[in-house]
């Protein structure tokens, strides 16, 4: 089909189960978003077993539930996931496929859209209708430019970022799922998940607060020496007390990667910015970090921002943070920790 002008689309909400058979919050948010479009939609589910997931959203308003299940679909991997997604999209005859932008769907949906003769847009932050046409909002140049687009290509696969829709709640019941048999092969075996070898998991995507460390923590301080051990204690103490998620500037994680005696618990996974993550948190506190553009683009979805920096002319002070405390982060964070339980 080649005309995106008709208001009526055949929408498939494409979801995968988690290892426990349930749906993640991002899946429920995508469903919530699909309902706001005011068009009928079906739901496609892939996983080891999809019955429990279908039941958990039985009353979501879907016209139909489709499923692909089996042990091979328990694993998050290209060969099997792409086959499942392709089969579900074909069975639903979908013109629009809405899914959460999980690592699992991000890996396969551009390839699946290609197989279906359509296109995929990833990292969507908004999906809506304007004059009867579907419109997607997404960022270009890594969070530096926002665009609203329409497409004539169908099917159109749209992967929606977390936090962009109201999660569906209270829709449990009994769903009847049309199961589709899919023959899928892969030369890949998933062995499991692994946390970075730093001894502790400091990344907490669901935390209210993002705490960001910069290279200043490892630099010579007023007494002419670095105070790395003290920095480690202050940072870990703060994370412990607040359960904040830890982010970092590139400079500091690069130093850690080069084996210098700096904060041993940091890896590239903590990096925020142009070549790092763009996490979503309600609040962000930056310490000893300058606030340069390639770093700050990663803060796009952090709503309230504060920074502690010795330099009143740092990047944060130029309209990038709500509050900048011109102060020594070592002193401030020691006092902050003393106030926390």
């Amino acid at each position: 089909m080649d005309s995106g002008v008709t208001a009526m689309e055949t929408i498939l909400v494409l979801l995968h189960t988690e290892s426990d058979g349930a749906l993640a919050r991002s899946a429920l948010e995508t469903l919530g978003l699909a309902r706001t479009l005011g068009m009928p939609f079906s739901v496609g589910l892939a996983g080891a077993d999809v019955k429990a997931a279908a039941d958990s959203i039985a009353a979501c308003g879907a016209t139909r539930f489709l499923g692909v299940a089996g042990v091979e679909f328990a694993q998050s991997r290209y060969g099997t996931d792409a086959a499942a997604a392709e089969a579900l999209a074909r069975a639903a005859d979908a013109t629009v496929i809405l899914g959460p932008a999980t690592s699992r769907w991000n890996r396969v949906m551009p390839g699946v859209a290609h197989r279906l003769g359509g296109r995929a847009d990833t990292h969507a932050t908004g999906v809506g209708l304007a004059e009867g046409k579907l419109r997607v909002t997404r960022w270009y140049y890594r969070q530096r430019m926002e665009a609203v687009i329409e497409r004539t290509h169908r099917p159109w696969a749209i992967l929606v970022e977390g936090g962009c829709g109201e999660a569906l709640t209270g829709a449990a019941g009994t769903a009847s799922v049309d199961m589709i048999a899919v023959d899928a092969h892969s030369r890949t075996e998933v062995e499991g998940l692994q946390s970075p070898k730093t001894g502790q998991q400091t990344i907490r995507p669901d935390a209210d607060l993002l705490f960001v460390t910069g290279a200043g923590w490892s630099k010579n301080q007023a007494d002419g020496k670095p105070r790395v051990e003290e920095a480690e204690k202050l940072i870990l103490g703060f994370l412990d007390a607040t359960q904040a998620s830890l982010g970092s500037s590139k400079s500091l994680v690069d130093l850690s990667g080069e084996g210098q005696a700096v904060l041993g618990f940091l890896t590239h996974l903590n990096q925020i910015g142009q070549t790092g993550a763009t996490p979503r948190h309600r609040k962000g506190l930056a310490t000893c970090c300058h606030g340069e553009e390639p770093h700050v683009v990663g803060w796009r979805f952090v709503t309230e921002r504060r920074a502690v920096n010795l330099d009143a002319n740092c990047g944060w002070a130029r309209g990038k943070a709500d509050v900048v405390y011109v102060a020594d982060a070592f002193e401030v964070m020691a006092q902050v920790n003393a106030l926390l339980p």
């Binding site: 991997r77 690592s103 991000n106 890996r107 396969v108 551009p110 390839g111 290609h114 197989r115 296109r119 990833t122 304007a130 270009y140 140049y141 969070q143 530096r144 430019m145 665009a147 609203v148 329409e150 004539t152 290509h153 892969s186 030369r187 890949t188 075996e189 998933v190 499991g192 692994q194 946390s195 998991q201 990344i203 907490r204 607060l209 607040t242 690069d254 990667g257 080069e258 590239h268 070549t275 609040k283 553009e293 390639p294 683009v297 309230e304 504060r306 009143a312 002070a317 130029r318 309209g319 990038k320 943070a321 709500d322 900048v324 405390y325 011109v326 102060a327 006092q335 902050v336 106030l339």
Partner: protein
């Protein structure tokens, strides 16, 4: 028998991240103001893919690295002056737009055609590398389509580590939710890896490697075929730089204890 890998790295160029970007309406849709004047760099995540490829090739005798790049030829040449000093590779250049507002599908089909045209390409030794996302389109879509076009369905994205086993198996760490890695074992090449940061620091410039690369590179640039990349079927209803200016409250000369109290109140609020 041939041994080693044929590692094909797909990498384009992007504006230097320190530059200010401003969208303008061009004849073919949105573009960047002064796009051709902006200093460019090798797309960062794809650059990591190149460094990882060079490292793997060095440790696997008989291997060869190709860099396939679709970009405006003159700009690509500038960027190659430094990239050529980082690692030995053969450049395959395609002359076309490298901006973010072109379709991943267009770029992918040009890249796939260029890869298919590599003489003596041995699929059983092929590792297709790229960045998991560009710093321009930022879609994370191009590599998957190239893989589909080449029939490679062992695909990995957000890769931070690849270890080759004695039996030729590939152990791969991919970034997944919650700051974790998924560990997968793929039986053998061919495979596609979209790299995140990886584990290697940026190699230092080595002028000798640069000299070795440069002659063939100039030839490749001269031979660069024009490639089509546009955005047919896409309508941009709006492109804007978000209003980022905040009213920053600058707090000076406040005792650390008071700052701490304010921060704790804010965290709890």
């Amino acid at each position: 028998m041939n041994s080693g890998y044929q590692i094909v790295v797909c990498a384009s160029i992007v504006p230097d991240p320190l530059q200010t970007l401003e969208p303008v309406a061009g004849p073919q849709g949105p573009a960047l103001k002064n796009e051709m004047m902006l200093p460019a760099v090798l797309d960062p995540w794809a650059a990591h893919a190149l460094f990882e490829a060079a490292h793997l090739a060095r440790n696997t005798p008989g291997s060869k690295v190709y860099l396939v790049s679709l970009a405006p030829k003159a700009k690509l040449q500038q960027v190659m002056m430094t990239v050529a000093q980082k690692a030995p590779f053969e450049l395959i250049a395609l002359d076309g737009p490298s901006g973010g507002f072109t379709e991943a599908a267009d770029v992918a089909s040009a890249l796939a055609a260029a890869i298919q045209a590599i003489p003596d390409l041995d699929r059983s030794r092929l590792l297709l590398f790229g960045g998991w996302e560009s710093a321009s389109r930022g879609a994370g879509a191009t590599m998957q389509i190239v893989g589909e076009l080449l029939g490679i369905r062992e695909q990995f994205q957000g890769v931070d580590e690849l270890t080759v086993g004695a039996d030729g198996s590939l152990r791969i760490l991919e970034r997944v939710e919650g700051g974790k890695h998924q560990v997968s074992l793929c039986s053998a090449a061919p495979a596609l890896l979209g790299w995140a940061t990886g584990n290697l620091p940026e190699p230092r410039n080595n002028p000798q490697v640069g000299m070795l690369n440069m002659r063939a590179m100039m030839l490749a640039l001269q031979k660069a075929k024009p490639a089509h990349a546009a955005a047919a079927g896409v309508t941009f209803a709006g492109v804007a730089v978000p209003k980022q200016q905040r009213e920053t409250r600058l707090v000076r000369d406040m005792p650390a204890a008071d700052i701490a109290r304010e921060i704790v109140e804010w965290i709890r609020g």
